[in-house]
């Protein structure tokens, strides 16, 4: 496996595919090629970094408006008997 081939197979490896054949060739290459190993690590870190944050909290005021609109729409659709719609 060349660096080029490794690059193209990167997704499956990063995603932890159970393709042992690819994995073996991959591991062999990585063991002897520091730059590719670091690229793989960098990509994993990049993904972890994006997953680590939950930065976009919904504004409270919108949450209230949303609940109101949904309730209204629900009642229109379900006839507004509101049997179980009173708490929450």
């Amino acid at each position: 496996m060349t660096c080029e081939e490794l690059l193209k197979a990167l997704n499956d490896y990063v995603d932890g595919a159970q393709l042992t054949e690819i994995c073996e060739e991959f591991s062999q290459h990585l063991a002897g090629c520091d730059p590719c190993q670091v690229v793989v690590d960098n990509i994993r870190q990049t993904i972890s970094l994006y997953r680590a944050g939950q930065p976009y909290a919904m504004p409270k005021s919108f949450e209230e408006r949303l609940q109101q609109s949904l309730k209204q729409r629900w009642e229109e659709k379900h006839g507004g008997s509101g049997a179980s719609a009173t708490f929450g």
Binding site: L7, C33, P35, N42, P55, K71, G82, S84
Partner: protein, 212 residues
């Protein structure tokens, strides 16, 4: 007490009760899903008002279609797909120069023009440590926004939201192989950009393209 009981129900349980007309269960389901729906639409649209519109449309659509949902995927996956569609509609309206059509650009993707890594260096901190720093989230969103829509959307759904390749393909109406090619590109571009910021220049390496 009743609320506590509700909290222990899974999204699937809540879905079933909502299907039977239980609004409290529906509300609970919305509460569970809204951080992901809002987060996803915000990442795609990068504007609070637009993200709110897309989020509201998504849950309104949920009321309309909940009874017909056949549960071939998890409820979260289904709702994120609806959210993606709504966000894309808004995005298309805003893109005056170039229309965002995911499938129209589909055929040209191949592995042949995948960018080669240039700056290669181990990061000096772990992703978890970096994530704690203020301003990092803004930096991440900025990097994401510099990507073409077609790469950005795939990365958001697959890597940020954690959908499978299959579900990502479904949500964006792409083939799975196209998702993979775009994902590789997105990952490599973001890796390059973030490594320039977080990589340890003292340990930088020269890419060895002739190595076999």
């Amino acid at each position: 007490m009743e609320n506590q009981l509700l909290d222990e129900r899974t999204e699937t349980d809540l879905l079933h009760e909502a299907k039977e007309g239980n609004f409290a269960a529906f509300q609970q389901l919305v509460t569970k899903l809204q951080p992901r729906v809002y987060g996803l639409t915000f990442r795609i649209l990068h504007q609070a008002q637009d993200a709110e519109d897309a989020t509201q449309q998504t849950f309104m659509a949920l009321i309309e279609h909940i009874a017909d949902f056949r549960e071939e995927s998890s409820v979260a996956t289904w709702v994120l797909r609806i959210a993606t569609n709504n966000a894309l509609k808004i995005l298309r309206k805003k893109r005056t120069v170039k229309m965002v059509s995911m499938s129209e650009m589909a055929s040209e993707d191949s592995y042949s023009d995948v960018p080669h890594p240039e700056f290669i260096a181990p990061w000096s901190q772990t992703a978890e440590e970096i994530a704690q720093q203020s301003e990092v989230q803004e930096e991440l969103q900025k990097a994401l926004l510099e990507l073409d829509d077609k790469y950005r959307l795939v990365f958001i759904l697959r890597d940020v939201e954690g959908l499978s390749v299959r579900d990502t393909a479904h949500a964006l109406e792409l083939t799975e192989s196209n998702v993979k090619v775009r994902l590789l590109r997105a990952r490599l571009i973001l890796r390059e950009r973030l490594t320039k910021k977080f990589g340890d220049a003292l340990q930088a390496m020269i890419p060895d393209h002739k190595h076999s």
